[in-house]
């Protein structure tokens, strides 16, 4: 390349690029991201195949290929962005490439491959319409897709180095600094010091003509942040241009890029950029022929977090130990080799050309006063659209997380975001209205930091995160200050104790004290901010810490020593799923049955209707894998093993003096409590309002999901000589709580379920033809009355609504069934597979509606008037709020309407039945202490749906077990609330073959089910049982998380290691 001698030369050179068409904009171009993220996802393979196809077809001239650095939408890598149409083809495989090329050459869109948004499944034909990009302001990052980072011509063609041109036309350092001050730009490294002010200080610092340095700090040490990498990798000349301008402004002649060696591509691209800029004469002893000098070099960091701190960075540049020193003197006075050194972050420097080109005042219009411009965040962790996002400062966290990031992944709700990395803190979801600016984040106990924004959900443990940061910091503390060295170590140890279940409540206070001490007594930024992760965790998530300490529970299922095997810890009833799966693999089905039954007296029921939290937490299901089909395996066992195989272990037998217990309600909670009380030596009487026991199991779940026979057999196997069941005995009518107590029952358990559907609150709701869903389900399930006829509407989106819809479809006089829901299908709380089955069977889904008016004629329902909704802003739970749109009224003609918006308990009977009122919540549930299940009345406990509201069977079973324990403690006079213990695997079941190997194709087994045509009008059970072969293969896929705890330790020395060299 020729060396340019003047500003005019540069302008001419740029003009040549346009006229020679070195870069051709006259043909479609495939843009492929080949940054670190793109390459990790296989974009190099995509590029190779593109080249192959271009060569094979000889169409190099008709189609361009641009290989760029990171464009930020890493979730979608590898992708092709087509210019000029801006179609985005995401997550491509090599075999897709020819199809994309066909589409581009044929000027059409490949509907199958085009980007579809996860929220509505609809295609977006231009990248500009993708929500991830729509809400961003990509002042800096936007250039990355337009240029190949190793071609200086690309940068020049985009107007690169025009800011330098402008500056060099009439070099005036004060004017540059004035412009930067006017822009309001604050350092993007995290502390937010005004850049213009730093430059002004640097300009006046030092002796006249003393050598000065500009350092670009690309030691992006915050683990979880990669904005600087993507900028240096994707647009290195922008950084160079910013540095040269900084050099001119402060009078520095040497520039150094200090970059982490963990970023090989960034190192390489910076190196090439410096080489090209030097060749062109943009760097060197006479920049563009002027008498200004600026040379640049790269120093690679060697992996030390503390070297991001400016004084440590300087030591590292000098080739020494990267230990910080006391400030002042600040580096702008005494830096590298004692010379004035101005250190700026990568992103700060990338903003400089923008400021010079647009003018400082114009730049200041972006963002909010005091926090101007944009900031790039690395939005990662538990979020749908991960990647780099550039937003104006002052935007709300909520907008970034939900609008741009698309919200939660899967079922776990977002709990917090962590900003600022190891120096920052966690901000809880309830504070997501906080604007993102330097000052608000600091006030909230976190910091802006360099831009890491890690989203955490219910499966992220805050104790673990704090421990993670302390582990990081204790390793990275340089050791110079005693309090930092020892303080981070000690805080780590305490958090480690807590995560292992060995913590005490006193330690939480100690932790806080330590954190404050470290903050106050350390020298550099690392130590001063090191306690932030701990302090913010204690401030916002103290309850979660206490749960670890007291209950020995990690609800996120993360802390290994409290969780054990996640399938087991996820099960409310504590079923050792890993253990029975292991037995199935070995062909020991009776042993498997005993394991299941030991934990859960309703194995056959749960093998059909359980919401299987065990599968949600199964490690085989992480990262695109498929969870073990644990429920189907349970079904396989319960279908083939006789319940009498299990002989329960009794710890005591009742005698004539044993206290009696009254249990109101014979659902899964009541029966489980009775069963476990019996095993503990108590006699109990169950009072059931209906004609037979079973509660919600009978009345709420349709037969095609759970055949009544299964319920009956299961209950028969539970009942024994210690349990008396009195049917047709209703609370409030036939007995009261007072009467039970005066009849000598020493403890009472209320477990009456949630049998009362909530009302819409519209006039005319009592018109014949309208039924609450529970009433509708119960009428059929227990009495065989088919209440639905003609065109049926069901309002609601939960399991009860879907059950009602599917049941209505099966009733003889029904013509159609429509499910009306206020949000979209994605937000429906019902199980996804149930919604799918309902739609398959012919239920029509009418989403986004609000019922407004009930229409009736001659005293009978004729229809309902609805308004259409749109999705509005999200509420605290992260769900978008439905907003009715005026003027969109429509009428649905209906003969039957089933209202299934939620259920409460029929708590009127409790009020009437008790002389002293039992406390209720505003939701119509009984207030019982969640730790002890005791109500406000001595000796009266409550468990199951009556406490929690509508809930799952397995939760009811767990509540029943807990109630039995609490009643036992109460009757034997011991303390109700006792510290918990972790349930860890402790029985070794020898694996057959290597865990995780099912000898199959690795895919999850699917149980046979009745075809749609056959089941649409049938009450026969839909789901079948796995074959023996499938079941054993499926069991073989289990990763056996238990082995870590149960495997006898290896004695052979195959694990010895090569020792390090000792000096």
């Amino acid at each position: 390349m020729m060396r340019l001698q003047s500003v005019q030369d540069l302008a001419r050179f740029r003009q040549d690029i346009y006229s020679e068409q070195t870069i051709r904009y006259d043909r479609p171009t495939l843009v492929v991201c080949a940054g670190t993220g793109g390459q990790a996802s296989g974009s190099n393979d995509i590029i190779r195949v593109i080249k192959r196809v271009l060569l094979e077809r000889g169409i190099q001239d008709r189609l361009g290929l641009r290989i760029t650095g990171c464009q930020g939408f890493c979730e979608m890598d590898p992708f092709i962005l087509v210019q000029p149409g801006r179609q985005l083809y995401p997550k491509l495989r090599m075999e897709d490439v020819p199809r994309v090329i066909d589409a581009v050459l044929g000027d059409y869109v490949d509907e199958q491959l085009i980007y579809k948004d996860a929220r509505d499944g609809r295609p977006r034909y231009s990248q500009n319409d993708i929500p991830f990009f729509e809400k961003q302001t990509r002042t800096i990052l936007g250039s990355n897709e337009k240029l190949d980072p190793i071609r200086i011509r690309d940068y020049l063609a985009l107007g690169g180095y025009t800011a330098l041109e402008k500056v060099l036309s009439s070099p005036d350092p004060d004017a540059i600094i004035q412009e930067v001050i006017a822009s309001g730009l604050r350092g993007r490294g995290g502390a937010g010091f005004p850049t213009g002010q730093k430059w002004r200080l640097a300009r006046t610092s030092g002796r006249k003509d003393e050598q000065k340095f500009v350092v670009c700090n690309a030691d992006e040490g915050d683990p979880g942040a990669y904005m600087d990498r993507s900028l240096l990798e994707g647009n290195p000349h922008a950084i160079l241009e910013g540095m040269i301008i900084a050099g001119i402004a402060i009078g520095a002649t040497e520039g150094i890029i200090y970059v982490r060696s963990e970023y090989p591509l960034a190192v390489k691209h910076s190196y090439i950029a410096i080489k090209h800029a030097t060749e062109l004469g943009l760097l060197g002893d006479r920049i563009l022929g002027s008498d200004l000098r600026f040379n640049m070099s790269i120093v690679r960091g060697a992996g030390a977090f503390v070297c991001g701190e400016e004084t440590a960075l300087i030591k590292s540049v000098e080739g020494k130990l990267g230990e910080p020193r006391q400030r002042p003197p600040y580096p702008i006075h005494k830096g590298i080799d004692g010379h004035p050194t101005c250190i700026n972050n990568v992103e700060t420097l990338a903003n400089i050309p923008v400021i010079i080109n647009r003018g400082g005042a114009e730049f200041a219009k972006i963002g909010v006063p005091g926090n101007t411009g944009t900031k790039i965040f690395s939005l990662v962790g538990k979020i749908k659209s991960t990647g780099l996002v550039e937003v104006p400062l002052g935007i709300k966290i909520r907008d970034v997380v939900y609008e741009i990031g698309g919200g939660q992944v899967g079922s776990a709700k977002i709990k917090a975001v962590q900003t600022g990395g190891p120096s920052g803190g966690c901000i809880p979801a309830r504070m997501f209205d906080l604007p993102i600016d330097y000052d608000s984040l600091t006030k909230a106990g976190s910091i802006m930091g360099s831009g890491g924004m890690i989203v955490m959900d219910e499966r992220t443990c805050m104790v673990d995160v704090a421990k993670y940061f302390m582990s990081f910091l204790k390793d990275e503390s340089c050791g110079k200050c005693f309090t930092c060295r020892k303080g981070t170590q000690r805080m780590y140890e305490i958090l480690e104790d807590i995560s292992k279940g060995k913590g005490t409540l006193d330690q939480l206070d100690l932790l806080e004290e330590l954190a404050t001490t470290v903050k106050d007594t350390t020298m550099c930024g690392l130590g001063q901010s090191a306690p932030n992760p701990v302090l913010s965790t204690l401030r916002y998530f103290r309850e979660e810490c206490e749960r670890h300490v007291w209950d020995k529970k990690c609800d996120a299922h993360v802390c290994k020593d409290l969780v054990g095997a996640p399938c087991q810890s996820a099960c409310p009833a504590g079923t050792e799923a890993w253990r029975y799966v292991a037995h199935i693999r070995r062909g020991e089905y009776e042993e498997a049955y005993r394991v299941i039954r030991e934990a859960n007296p309703f194995p056959s029921v749960c093998s059909r209707v359980c919401n299987h939290p065990c599968e949600e937490h199964c490690r085989a299901g992480e990262h695109g894998g498929e969870a073990i089909a644990i429920r189907a395996l349970k079904r396989f066992v319960t279908d083939r093993v006789d319940p009498s195989t299990y002989r329960p272990l009794r710890t005591a037998y009742p005698d004539s003096n044993s206290p009696k217990v009254a249990i109101i309600g014979s659902g899964p909670a009541g029966l489980t409590a009775a069963h476990h009380l019996s095993l503990r030596g108590y006699r109990s009487t169950i009072f059931e309002q209906a004609a037979k026991p079973g509660g919600m199991l009978y009345s709420a779940i349709p037969a095609y999901r759970l055949p009544p026979d299964v319920i009956r057999k299961e209950i028969e196997s539970i009942l024994d000589e210690n349990i008396e069941v009195r049917c047709n005995a209703a609370l409030g009518r036939d007995f009261t709580i007072d009467s039970l107590q005066s009849d000598g029952y020493k403890a009472v358990l209320i477990a009456i379920g949630a049998h009362k559907s909530l009302r819409l609150g519209l006039p005319g709701e009592d018109t014949p033809g309208i039924y609450p869903s529970i009433e509708f389900l119960r009428a059929f399930n227990t009495g065989g009355f088919a209440l639905a006829r003609g065109h049926v509407g069901v309002i609601g989106g939960g399991n009860s609504a879907v059950d009602a819809a599917r049941l209505a479809l099966r009733q003889k006089e029904v013509k159609s069934v429509t499910l009306f829901y206020r949000r979209t299908r994605a937000e429906m709380p019902a199980f996804a597979e149930e919604i799918e089955a309902a739609i398959e069977e012919g239920v029509i889904l009418e989403p986004l509606v609000t019922p407004m008016r009930i229409l009736a004629k001659d005293g009978r329902l004729t229809g309902v008037e609805f308004l259409r909704n749109k999705l509005g802003p999200r509420d605290a739970s992260g769900r978008p709020q439905p907003e009715p749109v005026p003027g969109t009224e429509f009428t649905a003609s209906l003969d039957t309407l089933i209202v299934a918006i939620s259920e409460g308990s029929d708590t009127d009977c409790i009020r009437a039945a008790s002389s002293s009122l039992i406390e209720m919540s505003k939701f119509g549930t009984v207030n019982a202490d969640p730790a002890t299940l005791l109500t406000n009345r001595p000796g009266v406990f409550a468990a199951g749906d009556v406490v929690t509201g509508p809930n799952t069977v397995i939760d009811a079973v767990a509540a029943g077990k807990k109630a039995a324990v609490m009643i036992d403690r109460y009757l034997s006079g011991t303390t109700l609330r006792q510290p918990g213990t972790a349930r860890l695997p402790h029985i070794y079941v020898e694996p057959v073959g290597p865990p995780g190997d099912g000898n199959g194709n690795g895919h999850r087994a699917v149980a046979p089910h009745v075809a749609v045509e056959a089941r649409r009008r049938s009450f026969a059970e839909v789901d079948g049982t796995l074959s023996t072969e499938d079941a054993r293969r499926e069991a073989g896929r289990c990763l056996r998380c238990d082995l870590e705890f149960t495997q006898p330790s290896k004695t052979n020395a195959e694990v010895s290691v090569v020792e390090g060299v000792a000096l």
């Binding site: 390459q39 590029i47 942040a225 190196y271 120093v299 080739g319 995160v465 090569v1058």
Partner: protein
């Protein structure tokens, strides 16, 4: 890779590195800022770790105390004082990877390899390391094996990743890999085809060039498959030597104006029939190469005016 033939990394083992080599590296960085770190990086790059002998040689040569050298070598995570295995497995434990399950992945790697992070298996096959962040946070957890990034790694993916490393990351099966394809190349000077039907490499006509390095000269036949590293030659050119290549037809020196981004040796550009250029580094053993179809102009002139292209793909 379209590289100037295949040079595999020779595993040094426990042998101490030669003092002269260290001296050369120290010399090279003598006048550079931050020399010590660069010196250690270069030595580690070459031998995979810093042996006691190497540190002593650095101390001797740079006239600093061994304690100084040792303290720097142990302060930075990038340096290893023990030999590494044939395969380097780095698991990212950055925050984003952590919250997405990196600890479980590290546990599984430990279990499968039977070693702790920082250690090497006794058979010297694997070294396991954890790194604080690789900057691919959106795709976590990340495990890098021999420089190859594996995104979204769950516990279940660990076993296949290790198996792949043992098999070799890049399959040698050039004929069935859809990323590997033949090029029709011509001399950028005279435009004559360089394909040689008489000498087959990878079962196909090869690219025949005359080579001259360190006083030796001979024929070199490179595979015409982009992505294959196979080649045949009648002369043994020493490793690291820069070869000057000539067209068998016009005998022009083919060295181009562009220099290798990795080793600074001249790149050798060849024209592609129908447009585009392929370039490879003239230093034996350097894998750097480029294939540029987007130069805007085709054939011979483009080769000598083209901007540089990275070796990434």
């Amino acid at each position: 890779m379209f590289a100037y033939w295949n040079a595999k990394f020779d595993f040094i083992g426990e042998e101490d590195m030669i003092a002269e080599e260290v001296a050369r590296v120290v010399e090279k960085h003598a006048d550079r800022r931050g020399a010590l770190i660069s010196v250690l990086e270069d030595i580690q790059q070459k031998y995979g770790y810093l042996s006691r002998g190497a540190l002593e040689a650095v101390a001797l040569k740079s006239r600093r105390s061994l304690v100084d050298i040792y303290s720097v070598a142990t302060f930075y995570r990038a340096f290893s004082l023990s030999p590494r295995g044939r395969h380097l497995v780095s698991a990212c434990v950055g925050t984003a990877c952590h919250v997405r399950g990196a600890p479980g992945v590290v546990e599984e790697l430990k279990r499968r390899l039977g070693i702790n992070p920082g250690a090497t298996t006794t058979d010297r096959e694997f070294t396991l390391e954890t790194v604080n962040c690789l900057g691919a946070c959106a795709l976590g957890p990340i495990v890098v094996v021999d420089g190859r990034y594996n995104p979204n790694v769950g516990v279940a993916k660990v076993e296949p990743i290790i198996a792949k490393a043992i098999r070799g990351s890049e399959a040698d099966d050039a004929l069935h890999d859809e990323r590997i394809f033949p090029l029709n190349v011509q001399c950028p000077r005279c435009g004559h085809s360089l394909l040689d039907e008489a000498h087959l490499v990878d079962g196909q006509a090869s690219i025949r060039l005359r080579g001259n390095a360190d006083g030796q000269s001979g024929w070199i036949n490179l595979s015409r498959l982009y992505g294959s590293v196979h080649s045949v030659t009648d002369t043994l050119f020493p490793n690291d030597s820069i070869t000057s290549f000539r067209c068998p037809n016009c005998d022009h020196d083919l060295a181009g104006p562009v220099h290798c981004n990795d080793c600074d040796a001249p790149m050798v550009p060849l024209g592609i029939t129908g447009g585009g250029i392929v370039q490879f580094c003239s230093r034996r053993g350097c894998p750097s190469h480029t294939l540029d179809l987007d130069s805007g102009r085709s054939g011979a002139t483009a080769a000598f005016n083209a901007p540089e292209r990275g070796s990434a793909s």
